[in-house]
């Protein structure tokens, strides 16, 4: 920061600079920093939006610790995060390697592979709702093996969390593969030649040369996918019965915040849950950034 060479400044121009940055600074003050502080305050109140907030100290946090929904949502979020981080890291890297190979029509195959990145997540949810219809195509395709004419994909407490992870990974894997591919493209070919010349086989080249060089990309992928997974909301909102069901097995923290806030109108609890989520995300990001520090 600030290392760039600066134009000579007169006092007058100083104020011009301030003028240029002030709309943005003002905006973020009002619509980002203030809400965070305000939300922290709200988390210490009981507030239903209709009667003025009442300060109650940390009671909301204690209540959350006892709230089955909240504990369940922590567990569900954990499951979702596990399912949509490690498999995504490995899957997207492997597919990036597959799509990095030079074959005829590569750009077309790549474009097809990237297609799932395009529809907004809510559209993804809507499309999969049809594909996973109890009498839909997946049921039909599998019926020779299952012998079933109807499978409750999204209303089954064991199947649906897995399927939501799968759907999420379907759109996120190409996205992260895109990032891996950008990382791979940034590695000079000479290093691969040099490694081959040095007698390394392709596995050795990959693990000893390529992978270490993808470390920054890896940190990026890890951090982004984790933050993303912690915020799981749209798929659970649209694809599960009663928004988070069955048996609240898909009630994630993000969804619960929305329910507290806009179904039960308990803004205090919603704000407290938000603060908890923020703390978790910050912590995880921090850990990843520290682990990802590079010395070369």
């Amino acid at each position: 920061m600030g290392a760039s060479v600066k134009a000579p400044i007169t006092r007058n121009q100083k104020w011009w600079g301030l003028l240029f940055v002030s709309p943005a600074v003002l905006f973020f003050a009002v619509f980002a920093i203030f809400p965070i502080l305000f939300g922290s305050y709200l988390s210490l109140t009981r507030y239903n939006l209709l009667t003025p907030p009442v300060y109650i100290g940390f009671k909301n946090y204690f209540a959350l610790a006892h709230d089955r929904k909240f504990l369940l949502s922590l567990r569900n979020t954990g499951v979702f995060v596990l399912g949509s981080t490690v498999p995504i890291w490995i899957g997207s890297l492997l597919l990036a390697l597959v799509f990095d190979s030079k074959i005829p029509g590569r750009t077309v195959w790549r474009a097809l592979f990237f297609l799932p990145v395009l529809p907004p997540l809510i559209v993804v949810a809507v499309v999969w709702k049809v594909i996973l219809h109890p009498y839909g195509m997946v049921t039909a395709v599998l019926s020779p093996f299952t012998g079933l004419g109807e499978i409750p994909w999204l209303t089954d407490p064991h199947l649906s969390p897995i399927l939501l992870i799968a759907i999420n990974n379907w759109t996120m894997i190409p996205f992260f593969a895109m990032i891996w591919l950008a990382g791979l493209a940034a590695i000079p070919d000479e290093l691969r030649y040099a490694s081959a010349l040095d007698g390394a086989n392709s596995a050795q080249t990959f693990f000893l040369v390529i992978l270490p060089l993808l470390k920054r990309t890896a940190v990026l992928v890890a951090a982004l996918s984790t933050i993303n997974a912690f915020q799981a909301f749209i798929l659970q909102y649209e694809l599960t019965p009663d928004k988070g069901g069955p048996a609240d097995t898909n009630l994630t923290l993000g969804l619960l915040i929305w329910k507290y806030g806009f179904q039960y109108f308990r803004m205090g609890d919603a704000a407290a849950a938000s603060v908890v989520l923020f703390a978790i995300i910050l912590l995880v990001t921090l850990i990843q950034l520290i682990l990802g520090r590079s010395k070369y």
Partner: protein, 428 residues
């Protein structure tokens, strides 16, 4: 000449001042009011809404009514967020199940008897019928009914006949009968999965946990949530009995379950032979689907303590307490006007409102189904009108799924539920 001019000017100025004063006084008496009216979507009712509004605007040129229709599925949510955001409409149609929440949030304005043209609550009841009770809390009326509803069971005649049954004779009277009849009606494929089911519960929305599950507990003599004392009791033998019945329905008898699409849709598409969250108000849908049907009352426990079917519910047209006084008065005037069209609502939209005029209609007095339905309605009670109803309902739905789908220990789940519901209600 100059003096004349001066005089003229003086008069002119005086005239202007007079005009200004009059202009300033005028709106105080007859300022135009615009009422925002929010209704949920019910296609047969929409033309009537427009007709009533036209009539009302003609009769009250100083009041304008601005109608917005919302999809049924998101109506509650939108209404609540609008109020929460301080943008609630002046007049709105609201379901009885929300009453507790809205009361606690001080959204509802008590009836303006003057604007409604009556002098007492009794007079109001005489005019609009007993349906009013659902919106009466602590002696104050908070809305006029636009739809009072209760459930009957409908049988698909064709499917019954195919199973060798006759709805007139074989209709189940008890829940135990319901199992037997359903087993006869169920057609299964090779894998044993039902292709056609007999009866199934309506699993789609936690609200049915109140309207049906709650009612079955009530039949057995239990009370899950006491509306007056806010006491919670999910750990009772009545709840366990009901839960066991629902669980056996899915896991022992394998007659249905939450994995199936909504029971109403299943009935309309011929996959379900009995559907029990319908009533005569659903006739048009049956006809549209080309289904020949017969109604029979909701079964009871063989040892029922209370002789009631499922819970009743109603839509009330209500007024925003946060609107200004003039708007509230105009709003109640409109609500009275709208609700007085009870005969139109019944004839054109199939919505029953308990008014004496409707009760006296030939179509009601001569119709055996209507009589059956009215008899059930008289016995039925409302689900508890408490704040936090939807949150407790969600918890109940989760408990149900834990027991039925995840096969957890019922005692443990219900005692969890009990403490959770206690917490929820205590925090309101």
């Amino acid at each position: 000449m100059k003096k004349q001019m001066h005089e003229l000017m003086k008069r002119y100025v005086l005239g202007l001042i007079m005009l200004a004063v009059v202009a300033a006084m005028l709106p105080a008496g007859a300022r135009a009011v615009t009422l925002e009216l929010w209704m949920h979507d019910h296609p047969p009712r929409i033309p009537l809404d427009k007709k009533i509004i036209d009539e009302f605007e003609k009769a009250n040129p100083d009041i304008k009514v601005n109608l917005t229709i919302f999809p049924y599925s998101t109506f509650d949510q939108r209404l609540q967020v609008a109020f929460a955001g301080g943008q609630g409409p002046a007049v709105f149609n609201n379901v009885s199940l929300n009453l507790g929440q809205y009361m606690a949030s001080h959204i509802l304005a008590p009836a303006d008897l003057k604007a409604l043209g009556v002098s007492s609550n009794d007079e109001l009841t005489a005019k609009y019928g007993v349906g009013l009770n659902g919106a009466t809390i602590d002696g104050k009326v908070y809305g006029l009914p636009t739809e009072v509803s209760d459930y009957l069971c409908a049988a698909n005649n064709k499917l019954w006949k195919a199973a060798g049954l006759d709805p007139a004779k074989d209709a189940p009277k008890t829940w135990d009968d319901m199992v037997k009849v359903s087993e006869k009606l169920t057609q299964r494929d090779k894998s044993g999965a039902p292709v056609v089911r007999g009866f199934d519960f309506n699993w789609t929305d936690p609200v049915f946990m109140w309207l049906t599950f709650n009612a079955m507990v009530d039949q057995a003599g239990g009370t899950m949530v006491n509306e007056a004392t806010r006491k919670v009791d999910f750990d009772s033998k009545e709840v366990k009995k009901t839960m066991q019945y629902w669980s056996d329905w899915v896991n022992v008898h394998k007659l249905g379950g939450p994995q199936y699409t909504g029971s109403r849709d299943a009935f309309l598409s011929g996959q379900l032979a009995i559907e029990c969250t319908v009533g005569p108000w659903f006739d048009s849908q049956f006809e549209k689907a080309g289904i020949s049907y017969s109604f029979f009352p909701i079964p009871r426990w063989a040892d029922a303590v209370n002789d009631r079917g499922f819970n009743t519910y109603a839509y009330f047209m209500m007024v925003n307490a946060n609107a200004d006084e003039a708007t509230r008065a105009a709003a109640w005037k409109f609500v009275g006007f709208y609700a007085s069209h009870s005969v139109d609502l019944f004839n054109e939209a199939g919505l029953f409102t308990t008014s004496p005029e409707v009760a006296a209609l030939k179509g009601v007095t001569n119709d055996p189904v209507m009589q059956m339905w009215l008899a059930e309605l008289k016995k039925a009670v409302y689900s508890p009108r408490i704040p936090g109803l939807n949150e407790v309902g969600d918890a109940l739905g989760r408990a149900r799924d834990r027991i039925i789908l995840q096969h957890e220990d019922m005692d443990k789940v219900l005692s969890d539920l009990n403490s959770e519901a206690q917490d929820i209600i205590a925090r309101q």
